[in-house]
Amino acid sequence: MAHSGVPHHLSYPRFLLKVLDRATDGTWRFYAWMFVLTAIALVGANTWAWQVARGMAVTAMSDHVSWGLYIANFTFAVGLAAGGVMMVIPAYLYHDEDMHDVVIIGELLSVAAIVMALGFVVVDLGRPDRFWHMIPGLGKFHWPVSMLTWDVIVLNGYLAINLHVCGYLVYTRYRGERPDPRWYLPFVFLSIIWAISIHTVTAFLYSGLGGRPFWNSALLAPRFLASAFVTGPAFIILSLQLVRRFTAFKVPEGAIRRLLDILRVAALVNLFMLAAELFTHFYTGGHHAAAVRYLWLGMHGHHELVPWMWTSITLNLGAVAVLLTPSLRERRVVINTALVAIFAAVWIEKGMGLIVPGFVPSTLHELVPYAPSIAEWKVTAGVWALGLMVFTVALKVGLQAMTGELRAPGAQADLAVEEKEVA
């Protein structure tokens, strides 16, 4: 407990310096990875700057399809952030020891994914210079009437909660102290409810619009959650294997198995809800089915989204078949391929399959197609690169704190076992 004596106002700045030091230190692989991400992020930043200066005409959006790739990725990123909670629930509600060892990875993913989600909202604004109009007190925050203000609250709140939990755990580890449950457990439980809320509120953004029958469905929020519990665990399982390969951190097999179990169920629930939705639309027919018809079959000679959707459903069904086949359970490469496939499938489903058909056909039943412009792809890649940078650096620092590599001089180094008992 040698370090405990150092007051926080001295130890915290030192901690931050050390974090900065560790965040920028690594093998050639780390530097190469970060260099590539930085390059992509810079291309994105440059394209975004052009978009702000010259106008959003550089995108392929129009008054008919007024949201596109950015809002699609925003929705997907919110799901990814909410998906991280599928580690927190087993770890803290069911005391899954293996999961508890790696739960911080899920929380750090939530942080990175929220950064991405906020990034996608900002790049979608026509006037980001007026961002301050949204700040309560300073501008005019249209709460509680506008669902978008709810989303601002839940997303920033979720970011703050996860930053606090991760930051607190890493800092106490650094000081060689035992984390005080009073300072983080309530926030962990809050984060569970909050994770559900971020994707629910995001679904309400769309489902609350009576003029858009494709979105105006009570099933939207439940489906968002089901698909979030597919993509979150899929991304984490892949990340855990990378962590195992490239760091000294020990990843217990039990955590991966548990996440796969969750993913299997979530994927089936998601497919079931998709089937329920398709039945309702196609069997009823009429105007409410127009967007779904355009999406899956094409309409009036327009088939722009049809290849996307059939790719998505093929990947989805294929992945689920693989994940449910008992004889393939131990084939890691096959399982990983299925995870990548289902991740891509849901990305399409939330993007081209959810946001765009809300606008096609338009409210006056005009059929104006949309395909993202090069500028939109560049900006989107940039925000993803930023998110991956945040995730990489956060993992690096977080895991070093967990293994004891990130420790204050003189701090005790054998707390790893004790801390587990507390929670």
Partner: protein
């Protein structure tokens, strides 16, 4: 022993410097922002919080900016609603011939972007015997009226229960006491949530800075309606409030060659609009959504 870490730190500092320089370079297009915004614009308060003096200063600034950016001297006024006035609009589908002169008049009156031929009005060519908009067509290009067709112009319905104002995260759009839904173009952040919420395709976004030759600019402008909109904000039909609030008629109505359009104050028992609402079997679009439009349609039978 000390040398290695020092070298590492030096390399990191070098890397950070290069990174910052690259970032600054990447964002350099933002220097062009002075073309579309200004310090005054950035600092400006919400329309409803501006005092008379502040409003006047804003109007003068906007006039100057129009002069600088478009080379035309214009007058921008702040025309307020009159008490005891509730506007409504009605359109006779039996006589509309689909000539789109209303849409063109809107284009000119409201200083719309020229290259895109923007207008707040879309005219649907509908098949006789069907109110199914899915059978409608806005892109018709032939002599009108065509056999077996009727025509339905659609613009902002000025709903009494507008879904668009509800969703705005910054209160940049609201309903005025006379029923007109307006946008503060200097407060809108351009999220386009209102555009997604509107069931009538009434809103437009300025995807780029509007282009209008100086000679074609309508110099009689107002803050909440037809002044040239900034890039990156949403706009919409305002029932030409700079005209109608001063007793004149909307530009689309004046342009109509068939007299299909009827506009006025529903609170005035002697108004034409009141007569139409009382004597014709009028209907509204998408009544089931509960938006309660102030824009009515009727057939003359």
């Amino acid at each position: 022993m000390d040398e290695k870490p020092t070298r590492r730190v030096a390399l990191k500092v070098l890397g950070a410097t290069l990174g910052a320089a690259a970032f600054e370079r990447a964002l350099s297009p933002l220097r062009e922002l002075s073309e579309i915004t200004s310090v005054g614009d950035f600092m400006q308060k919400h329309y409803r919080e501006l005092s008379r003096d502040e409003m006047n200063a804003v109007l003068r600034r906007l006039e100057d900016e129009t002069q600088q950016r478009y080379g035309r001297e214009v007058t921008i006024r702040d025309v307020r609603p009159t008490e005891g006035v509730q506007f409504a609009y009605a359109l006779n589908l039996s006589v509309c011939i689909g000539c789109r002169r209303c849409a063109d008049a809107c284009h000119v009156e409201n200083n719309h972007d020229r290259p895109t031929h923007q207008s707040y009005i879309r005219v649907l060519e509908m098949t006789s015997g069907s109110m199914d908009m899915e059978q409608g067509n806005t892109g018709y290009d032939h002599t009108v009226p065509a056999e077996g067709k009727f025509y339905m112009p659609v613009q902002c319905q000025q709903c009494e229960n507008p879904p668009c104002t509800k969703v705005c995260p910054v209160e940049a759009t609201w309903q005025e006491p006379d029923g007109i839904v307006v946008v503060d173009y200097n407060w809108c952040i351009g999220c386009r949530y209102c555009e997604a919420a509107c069931p009538y395709h009434a809103r437009r976004f300025n995807w780029h800075k509007p282009e209008i030759p100086a000679a074609e600019i309508n110099p009689d402008q107002s803050y909440l309606s037809n002044r040239i909109r900034p890039q990156g904000v949403v706009e919409k039909c305002t029932f030409c409030l700079h005209r109608t609030r001063e007793g004149r008629l909307p530009a689309c109505l004046e342009a109509c060659p068939t007299g299909a359009r009827v506009f006025g104050n529903v609170l005035d028992p002697n108004s034409d609009i009141r007569w139409v609402l009382e004597n014709k079997r009028v209907f509204v679009l998408k009544e089931e959504l509960g938006t309660r439009p102030r824009f009515f349609y009727f057939f003359d039978v």
